[in-house]
């Protein structure tokens, strides 16, 4: 059992989410920076999809009621242990994690995984719909699952911050905007707004001007979609995005760049570059 002594600004349990239920109004959810959760699990010999803890801006304190192997990935936090390699936390010891040096979301994986009760096949907290476990707070007790397999990877060099550039595939609704809107999206950096969350990265910068008036009938949305509300300020959808939406999507961020988007902090600058569809 792991006892949360402090959760930091926002911390949740996340696995790889609830794919396949969008038609029932269920967001995919799951780790915002999924490759980092997968890496932390691999370091421990866990299946990649086991649940871990997703910290936002670090600052957590976790008390281990039993000894456990732990690995950290994603935004590098100040800790006694270090990133990208498994380490042992002894029974009764506390793991203290500081503020990330860069990035936003840090993943704490435990050998055996966090074993809270799954909902619709996933242990993820969905911040939009409220499915899954409550966000962590002081006093939350997290059960740990039974380890399987062996720890076969001993080190993954932690990457540095990646350039905050998001490659975009145009469409499906770029034709709802004036012809040079995509060029405008890419011309100057946008700034990440304070009200960004697991639903999306809200941006402020050049206004994306619509060519078509009226309402777009609600349609299915994907992670990475750049949705443009009437304000003309884009939102990049992350893991907890609504499954359907009615604002036009000017482009979609490439999957490989979703972890970059998930690590953007309020105040960061980010650029877009267009990568045409194949």
């Amino acid at each position: 059992m792991i006892e949360v002594l402090a959760a930091g600004p926002y911390a949740t349990v996340q696995d790889l989410g609830r794919p396949g239920l969008a038609h029932l109004g269920v967001p995919r959810s799951g780790a915002a920076d999924a490759p980092s959760l997968r890496l932390a699990n691999r370091l421990l010999g866990n299946p990649e999809g086991l649940a871990g803890i997703e910290l936002t801006f670090g600052m957590a304190r976790l008390l281990f009621h039993d000894g456990a192997w732990v690995a950290l990935a994603g935004a590098p936090v100040d800790s006694a242990a270090g990133m990208g390699a498994p380490f042992w936390v002894a029974k009764g010891r506390e793991l203290r994690l500081g503020m990330p040096e860069w990035g936003l979301r840090t993943y704490v994986a435990v050998r055996g995984g966090i074993a809270v009760e799954p909902v619709l096949g996933s242990r993820s907290t969905d911040s939009l719909s409220g499915l899954g476990p409550e966000p962590l707070r002081a006093g939350t007790l997290l059960p740990v699952g039974r380890p399987e397999g062996v720890i076969s990877v001993d080190l993954a060099p932690p990457p540095g911050p990646r350039p905050a550039v998001l490659r975009v595939t145009p469409g499906p609704r770029d034709d709802w905007f004036v012809p040079d809107a995509l060029a405008g999206l890419c011309a100057r950096p946008y700034s990440v707004s304070q009200d960004s969350n697991r639903v999306g990265v809200r941006l402020s910068g050049a206004e994306l001007v619509r060519a078509k008036e009226g309402e777009l009938p609600s349609e299915g949305m994907v992670t990475g979609a750049i949705q443009v509300p009437p304000s003309g300020q884009p939102i990049v959808f992350l893991a907890d995005h609504p499954p359907t939406g009615g604002y036009p999507v000017i482009g979609v961020v490439r999957e490989a760049d979703l972890p970059v988007a998930a690590q953007l902090r309020p105040g960061d600058e980010v650029r877009f570059t267009v990568r045409p569809a194949r």
């Binding site: 619709l120 595939t169 499906p172 994907v222 979609v252």
Partner: protein, 204 residues
């Protein structure tokens, strides 16, 4: 027309809810390899297939669309109708009647007379936009949404009706309540509603 949605999505323009539902049903009955999500909307169907060959999938979709378009109107009529018993005692029943210029009894009879069809789901898990509402009952959403609407509340807003699947904030006008659990995370499937399901409300 089929539009690319990023690297993994294809958005089929069906142009109608009816064709969206038929395409959705056909793809669910015979799911192409690699397809993870099929999301019907009022004029579109989104297909997400991360590991699939999209060239092949586009060709397959074009075939299914042509086939479903040619079928005419015959298909959905034989599907079963789901009956939802409703106690019509909602907090906004009188305001809906006043806005429509009819009696409360007529609101009830008009709401229960029409067969509705689940258009699509969104807003919250299990929240279905039911289409086919009697146009007389079309009313704007509340100016100030309620902070909490109980699960099972039956409501109208614009051209739609809905059953709140779980307690949530909401701005729709409440006309009644049902004891039917339309959303249950322990059930498989968790939602009674999915796109294309036909629904009739019945005064309880």
């Amino acid at each position: 027309m089929i539009r690319a949605v990023g690297e993994h999505g294809l958005l089929v323009e069906t142009g109608s809810l009816e064709l969206s539902h038929r395409l959705d049903a056909a793809l669910r009955a015979d799911r192409p390899a690699g397809v993870v999500e099929i999301v019907a909307g009022p004029r579109t169907v989104l297909i997400v297939a991360p590991r699939a060959n999209h060239g092949r999938l586009r060709a397959h979709l074009a075939g299914v669309i042509a086939q479903e378009r040619d079928k005419g109107d015959a298909t959905s009529a034989d599907a079963a109708v789901m009956t939802i018993p409703v106690v019509y005692d909602g907090a906004d029943l009188e305001s809906v009647a006043a806005l429509a210029g009819i009696s409360v009894d007529e609101v009830v009879s008009r709401h229960a007379a029409q067969e509705l069809v689940v258009g699509w789901l969104g807003f919250a898990p299990g929240f279905a936009y039911l289409t086919g509402l009697d146009p007389v009952l079309e009313t704007p959403r509340l100016d100030t949404p309620r902070t909490s609407v109980p699960a099972g509340s039956v409501a109208v807003a614009g051209p739609y009706s809905a059953v709140y699947p779980s307690a949530s904030p909401g701005g729709w006008r409440l006309i009644g309540r049902t004891s039917v659990r339309v959303w249950d995370v322990t059930a498989d499937p968790p939602s009674l509603f999915r796109p294309g399901v036909r629904v009739r409300f019945q005064p309880a």
